[in-house]
């Protein structure tokens, strides 16, 4: 500050770098991995592996209830999990019952079926192997009702066809008839409500996939009340890794979680480099000033 006031040194100017340069770096860090389809492998941690193993050991024709409890804003994080688990369940020939306790989940159920299940598993028959039950209002109250009587709330599927016309619905009386419940979301209502109102009272295994932000709130429920949790993009990528290890054919496929992880890793590196850069500048400047003032103070 003292002395050569009008001529700022390069270091001084860099310290107040135009933030648009940071913006540009972030944009590039996010877009490039997407464009090149770059992915990042994640070693599977126990909390994810356990859910994978549970599904892996389900006998064929087991009944898995998938609840799509998220919306478009969290879809980039959650959708890869839904895709991975749907793939895995379909590999195991389980029956998939898809529903939503979030209104926004309805569309996402549809796109999971259209974009993942139908093209990759043409052998899966609607009404026999999988069904889209759609959204019902009621939040945790809905779960409570389903716990006692499933068909009281779901008298039709999402398309309005009477529920008893589907062979796969005939043995379903209440939630206790399911071998596993997986909730995708982690907001309210979500995994926690599934645990409290279905998993705990009925001793039904519950698993979940949630955003990174809500994951720490759910970790306490593992391993007693939750089979396993996928937390954020990392959890999704870990599950995909487990899937590829077991079913190598998926190694060639584009995996949403691993791709998101790549974007994440690159942008985290960029942000951290900027932070380190800023600190380096700060210390250089401080050293310079100390020299100028003769090291005193």
């Amino acid at each position: 500050m003292n002395g050569n006031g009008e001529q700022k040194s390069l270091v001084e100017r860099l310290q107040f770098i135009d933030r648009r340069i940071i913006f540009l770096f972030i944009a590039v860090a996010v877009v490039l991995p997407l464009l090149f389809g770059a992915t990042l492998k994640e070693e599977t941690t126990p909390i994810v592996q356990e859910l994978f193993d549970f599904i892996e050991h389900l006998p064929p024709d087991s009944r898995v209830l998938l609840s799509f409890d998220y919306g478009p804003t969290t879809a980039p994080e959650i959708q890869p999990m839904a895709d991975a688990i749907v793939r895995h369940c379909a590999e195991r020939d389980t029956r998939l019952y898809m529903m939503a306790i979030w209104a926004t989940g309805h569309n996402l159920t549809g796109s999971t079926i259209e974009e993942t299940l139908k093209p990759e598993f043409p052998g899966y028959v609607y009404g026999e192997d999988y069904i889209n039950l759609g959204y019902k209002a009621g939040n945790q109250g809905l779960i409570r009702l389903l716990f006692d009587d499933f068909k009281r709330m779901y008298s039709t599927d999402a398309n309005g066809t009477a529920i008893d016309e589907f062979p796969m619905m005939q043995q379903i009386k209440n939630l206790k008839n399911f071998d596993l419940i997986v909730s995708f979301g982690g907001g309210f209502p979500g995994i926690k409500e599934w645990v409290l109102y279905a998993g705990d009272p009925g001793n039904i295994p519950v698993g979940g996939g949630c955003t990174a932000v809500s994951a720490p709130l759910l970790y306490p429920y593992y391993p007693n009340q939750l089979v396993g949790i996928l937390g954020g993009a990392k959890g999704a990528a870990e599950y995909e890794n487990a899937l590829i290890t077991k079913y190598p054919a998926y190694g060639k496929k584009w995996m949403g979680g691993m791709s998101l992880m790549m974007s994440q890793a690159v942008s985290h590196v960029v942000i951290m480099l900027f932070i380190l850069f800023g600190n380096a500048l700060y210390f250089i400047l401080r050293a310079q000033r100390k020299l100028e003032t003769g090291g005193g103070e």
Partner: protein, 207 residues
């Protein structure tokens, strides 16, 4: 009179709300539900006040030809088109095609994009604020970096880093949040009590 009536209303209504918390009977539950329903309906009436304010501000901008007045036309056009689409007699509900499409193809993309601006701002804020200027700032910097570095593959270092990160999230993080939450709980309860008793009354204005 102008002051006493509102304060009395506040006291009676809030006292009822406190007591009903402890009484599980049907009649109380219904009364509670009614009160909640009523406040929601009053809130919709208030929207009219909002729309009125929006109209006035923008109309005056256009009339005075103040800076950027042209854009006020855009606001008013958007407002009127959406209202007309939403209220046209005969369409009569929110399921109609145009209304839904305006929602999905105008509102949703803008909303999601505004939200995603945070990715940029969180980076610029981190660059500016995460500097080791003081001991406290260094702590902020350090714990922020530890948490962020988890997402980067670091080979053999990944394991210990992720353990430290988890510890920070589960231990000091929990402690601090709990202290803040307790403070908030007390402060909020105290403010609520002051409102009940008519001590905190800034919200009623002074005239």
């Amino acid at each position: 009179m102008k002051r006493r009536v509102p304060l009395t209303i506040v006291f009676i209504v809030s006292l009822f709300m406190v007591i009903q918390y402890f009484v599980p009977l049907d009649s109380w539950a219904w009364m509670y539900q009614y009160l909640i329903d009523w406040t929601i309906i009053i809130g919709v009436f208030a929207l009219l006040l909002g729309i009125w304010s929006l109209l006035r501000v923008n109309y005056e901008k256009i009339q005075r030809k103040s800076e950027n007045w042209q854009y006020s036309i855009v606001t008013l056009l958007g407002l009127f088109i959406m209202i007309i689409v939403g209220f046209v007699p005969g369409w009569g509900n929110l399921e109609n095609y145009t209304y839904q499409h305006l929602f999905y193809y105008v509102l949703v993309p803008i909303q999601a994009t505004m939200f995603s601006l945070l990715a940029f701002f969180i980076a610029s804020a981190a660059f500016r604020a995460f500097r080791a200027r003081s001991a406290l700032a260094s702590l902020l910097l350090f714990s922020g970096l530890i948490i962020m570095i988890r997402f980067v593959p670091m080979g053999p270092l990944s394991e210990p880093i992720s353990e430290i990160a988890t510890w920070i999230l589960q231990v000091p993080n929990l402690a601090a949040k709990r202290a803040i939450i307790i403070g908030i709980g007390l402060g909020a309860a105290a403010t609520a009590l002051k409102i009940m008793l008519g001590i905190e009354r800034a919200y009623l204005g002074r005239d």
